[in-house]
Symmetry: C2
């Protein structure tokens, strides 16, 4: 029975990437050896690592002067590595939810944090506006979280700031064209739009490194990984391979522009139903609604039917739509690999539920 | 054509673990969803994580009061996390090669390092002896590397020290019974004897944590990961699964005692041939020879035939036996999953090469 997978991450990957990975575990690149059993020092795996970095550069139009890295530790390790490598005296953070809050907490281990704007007053249901002009140009960097998985909010454009811009793009990278030249550093846990859990994509402007006066262990220095082409230590070989295959599929389909059109279209379908259906309402400010994580709850008069709806969709093989406890209700995660067919299945379920209960 | 895989890591894994992983990428635990696409918050994945920790405890007889963690970043991140979490003023390191040297360098970021013993004088070809009694009981901990992949040396027993003992067991954990109670902390990159690259096993005695007076980012605190059962952030789900299946296989075969007997037997076969064959000689001190990485070179009069022998074995589908550049010659890595059949194939090649050239 086909499942409709709406998990927030790890989440649906393309059949192309899954099949290629499964096959490589049996025989990697015609070597007669499993991808899980082959040395990362073989030319065959070196090619995977090099091709992955090249494909990131191609898909995102990464300009000269940037390095692309595949690291371990998830976005959560980046919360610490960013300030460790870049924070001199003080850094600026825009707080848009749990993950931004986590990044702020780690930065405070290394210096002062200016929380210049936050949407905490309304349970992070919107993206703060108008803060760019208030950034102190002396700040080490400005940190944003471009998509907020839990609350379903998303920046729709790249901010203009008079300082280095750092972004956690874990849940929306590759879903819209971005102007990389506006960023000093971008990081993204792979398990949503990059590939498999266990690897983190980092894009860093080389000239921003090496400026802080702090002892940093080698493993936590970006420069170490740049110098060694993401092979300072054994990389998570399988996870990198799945990233390569995931990105290959994006290229086959037409690249990030096409991903953006698809994301807009899929999200619009679901938001239209949420806005139309009298039983449901969206939780995020309309102008900040995420294309990746669509959060909705039941209108007050139907609030008691949330558990019922959850069982109702599960019976239709629609999985992972229970909302995060901090928002409640429902969350449909529709990253790049999500099928329109699954979005339609959810919409049909909402309509059928409406017919049954109104 | 069957390959004989002697890579030093990532290295051969059991057919059982590979097949289970490949299948789970198609359909994980009967969920109808790929292991790579399922949320780590599902009961099915929670069971993988819990079972993996339980199996480590069972296989290694881990006493009460220890936690078992599956983290990211490899042993190289442990080089930094250990001193970050445990080093007060000064720590003691035994230097047995490149990896121990790397661990020492990271520890120096956080305090003083006493390099109490080293085998550097003879290119790390032996394990230093007699240093236990010289350990300062006031030291924060004593750090050893139980198996030295590059040089083919291995501690044959657990040292007795009047301080906390920390061990990097990346390349020989599960290959011999160990007395866990002698250790405060053990870590091991998974890609040799635990499972797939991208995850690190840590076994830590709970009561040694929280004693240092240092600001530590949450992600780098062992306590964070203990409190969250290795799910503080998204774990490398596939890699953990492969570890579970690798360990299940160890249990099926009879556990660590049986792994030890097999390791002894396989290593003995190869060392016997090295000692018998007039063309070759071992590089490690006989009493410290590793069961996992068997290093040998050609005797001086045949030194010019090393490249020839390398081609000779490659033509027989024997892969990965070129020695590390710091030792030269050859290295056969025969971790737990290595087949005796492959060891025999290498021995036959050595004998055939001898017949041809002597």
């Amino acid at each position: 029975m086909k499942k409709h997978n709406f998990y927030a991450g790890p989440s649906r990957l393309s059949d192309y990437a899954l099949q290629a990975t499964s096959e490589a575990i049996n025989d990697f690149a015609g070597t007669g050896i499993s991808l899980l059993s082959i040395s990362h020092r073989t030319p065959e795996f070196q090619d995977v690592m090099d091709s992955s970095a090249e494909l990131v550069k191609e898909l995102l139009n990464v300009p000269e002067g940037y390095s692309v890295l595949f690291l371990q530790g998830g976005a959560s390790l980046q919360f610490a590595m960013v300030p460790l490598n870049l924070l001199d005296k003080s850094a600026t953070y825009i707080n848009t939810g749990v993950w931004a809050t986590g990044a702020i907490a780690e930065a405070k281990c290394y210096g002062e944090v200016v929380e210049l704007a936050t949407s905490k007053d309304k349970n992070f249901s919107y993206i703060p506006k108008g803060w760019e002009s208030k950034v102190d140009p002396a700040t080490s960097y400005v940190h944003i979280t471009t998509n907020n998985t839990i609350y379903g909010t998303q920046y729709k454009s790249d901010p203009n700031v008079p300082a280095l811009l750092v972004a956690d793009m874990s849940s929306d990278i590759f879903s819209r064209p971005i102007d990389i030249s506006k960023y000093a550093l971008i990081y993204a846990g792979a398990q949503k739009n990059v590939g498999a859990a266990g690897v983190t994509l980092v894009i860093v402007r080389d000239d921003v490194l090496g400026k802080v006066d702090r002892v940093i262990p080698k493993i936590l220095k970006y420069q170490t990984h740049i110098d060694k082409g993401s092979m300072y230590n054994t990389p998570p070989t399988m996870a990198v391979y799945t990233c390569l295959k995931t990105m290959e599929r994006y290229k086959q389909l037409g690249g990030v522009e096409v991903m953006h059109q698809r994301a807009n279209a899929k999200a619009q379908l679901l938001y239209d139903e949420i806005d139309r259906n009298p039983m449901f309402k969206g939780t995020a400010a309309v102008e900040d609604r995420s294309n990746m994580n669509i959060c909705f709850v039941m209108n007050d008069e139907y609030k008691d039917k949330e558990a019922l709806f959850n069982d109702f969709v599960k019976a239709r093989n629609i999985l992972g739509v229970k909302g995060h406890r901090l928002v409640g209700g429902f969350r449909a995660s529709i990253y790049n690999a999500q099928r329109e067919e699954s979005v339609q299945a959810l919409i049909t379920a909402m309509q059928d539920f409406e017919k049954r209960h109104i």
